[in-house]
Amino acid sequence: MWFARNKTELKKIGDNNKLDIPEGLWIKCNACKAIVYKKEVEKNSKVCPKCNYHFRISAQERIDLLTDPSTFEEVDSLLTTADPLKFKDSKRYPERVNQANKALGIREAVICGSGRLNNTLIQLCIFEFNFMGGSMGSVVGEKISRSIERAIDQHIPLAIVSCSGGARMQEGILSLMQMAKVSSCLAKFFKQGLPYISILTDPTTGGVSASLAMLGDIIIAEPGALIGFAGPRVIEQTIKQKLPEGFQRAEFLLKHGMIDMVVARRELKQTIGNIINHLGFN
């Protein structure tokens, strides 16, 4: 479930919730606290050279990371919310959407399109966490469903990079229904014998993890990514104790048999390419 965390909560939950690397020549790593040269971090796909901490990156940076240069063609960028519940908390829902739109230049929390990965054409969906926590409402569900259907039509592989707090509360039950919608589309997709590679990045929780994220033929996570159904805070409140170190992190899920592999960002593209190739698509 996505929510706007305030700063104190940010610190409490984990050390890698920083949304972006601050301005300046030097930056402090969220994990090891080392002061590192910014350019070096950027050259290293935004991974700390000292401790391998993976900074969160934007959807656009992810596209650049995973697709061959100038091959990505975005679709459905004009889909936007219709505010079906006329939802209002301290702010009206459309205001929140507009704000995110102005800040990021995108209309929703997922970017979809086709592109080439090591020359193989794939359909690609990438969540943008900075857009309302990457939360899934009607538009996100619709865009992903259309991408799945395009992959079926073109008979090509599908990759989805999740980065989301879960379902979008501001669209209530309709957000919950998106979980069923995308899962149903994926069921159709699999009947065609097509591969779906699910890539889990920090964080992947709630309704996104409990639908498309955990349904990959192959599930890959980035090191240290928080992955789970319930958020750590909710669990701590329920069981009234602190969670053990590393709980719900990518390595924890690997150990418990929930994902196929943990892959460092710099090897991600090559790994996906190799898998797709093994599965007979190139």
Binding site: M1, L85, M169, G172, I173, Q178
Partner: protein
């Protein structure tokens, strides 16, 4: 034991008074029939007024009413020959989900639902109706069993949500829910889901990918509990009433959004005032929908279920 909600209390007090008058009439040969009639009229009017103007929060409280019939209550009212089946064959048996073979009239079906407890001991045993992954996986096993033997599936949904705990996460709560959505989408037999009480988020939806989704009049179905939503968006769990209004979680909200197909009327005052009558209403609906769905072949069932969920959502294209 009747445990009243605040807005039910005036009704209960009147009912108690009527009962007293009746006993007085019987015991002492006094004729109070006129007074009784008057009170009964007043009580009926009060009931109607109260229940015609329920807020979403009041409906939420009704959906969670401690006397509300639960899954096993409906199973014993509506079906016969129920044989409960246990276990996910992987880890354990989760008592917060029950399921088994049963007869609806002369037709064998599979019935599955979340189960809440009535007293404290039962509540703990049923984990307050909050399933672990093994509960969802038991349901999944039973769904595929039903498919193998061409039995229609009926699910009764009543849960605050999937359990957020250590073991649940370790054993893949997210995967268990996702897998159920995925498999239900493709199941080659008719599926009817009924939200009988609380439809709490992913834990509810994990039994809810159906050809027909019905909802009892005072049930709720939501992406998050009003309390959870209030804690997050209002930063104040006490704002649950406001959150319940914003979330639009009642049966009357969900029908126009096409999330549900029909509202099953509850007896005046709610299902707990007359569980038998509620069960009869529900049984009638189940029989009718099942008869209707029996006219479709497996491919059509899968296709119409897919289309039903595929068109869910409201958005615009600029």
């Amino acid at each position: 034991m009747i445990q009243d909600l605040d807005f039910e209390r005036p009704i209960s007090e009147l009912e108690l008074k009527i009962e007293e008058f009746k006993q007085l009439s019987n015991g002492q040969g006094k004729d109070l029939s006129k007074e009784i009639l008057k009170l009964e009229l007043k009580c009926a009017r009060l009931k109607e007024e109260t229940f015609a103007n329920l807020s979403r929060w009041q409906r939420t409280l009704l959906a969670r009413h401690p006397n509300r019939p639960y899954t096993l209550d409906y199973i014993s009212y509506i079906f016969h020959n129920f044989i409960e089946l246990h276990g996910d064959r992987l880890f354990s048996d989760d008592p917060s989900i029950v399921g088994g073979l049963a007869k609806l009239d002369d037709r064998s079906v599979l019935v599955v639902g979340q189960q809440k407890g009535r007293n404290f001991k039962e509540k703990v045993y049923r984990n307050f109706g909050m399933p672990h992954p093994e509960g969802f996986r038991k349901a999944l096993r039973l769904f595929t069993l039903a498919e193998k033997y061409h039995l229609p599936v009926i699910t009764l949904i009543d849960t605050p949500g999937a359990y957020p705990g250590l073991g649940a996460e370790e054993r893949g709560q997210a995967e268990a829910i996702a897998k159920n959505l995925f498999v239900m989408a493709e199941l080659k037999v008719p599926i009817i889901s009924v939200i009988i009480g609380e439809g709490g988020s992913g834990g509810a939806l994990a039994l809810g990918v159906a050809n027909r989704v019905l909802m009892l009049e005072y049930a709720i179905y939501s992406v998050i509990s009003p309390e959870g939503c209030a804690a997050i968006l209002w930063q104040d769990g006490e704002k649950a009433q406001e959150a319940s209004e914003a979330l639009k979680l009642t049966a009357y909200d969900l029908l126009p959004l096409k999330v549900i197909d029909e509202i099953i009327k509850e007896p005046l005052g709610g299902a707990h005032r007359n569980p038998a009558l509620m069960a009869v209403n529900l049984q009638e609906a189940l029989k009718a929908y099942l008869a209707d769905l029996s006219t479709f072949n497996p491919e059509e069932l899968v296709q119409q279920r897919h289309e039903k969920f595929r068109q869910m959502g409201v958005f615009k294209e600029l």
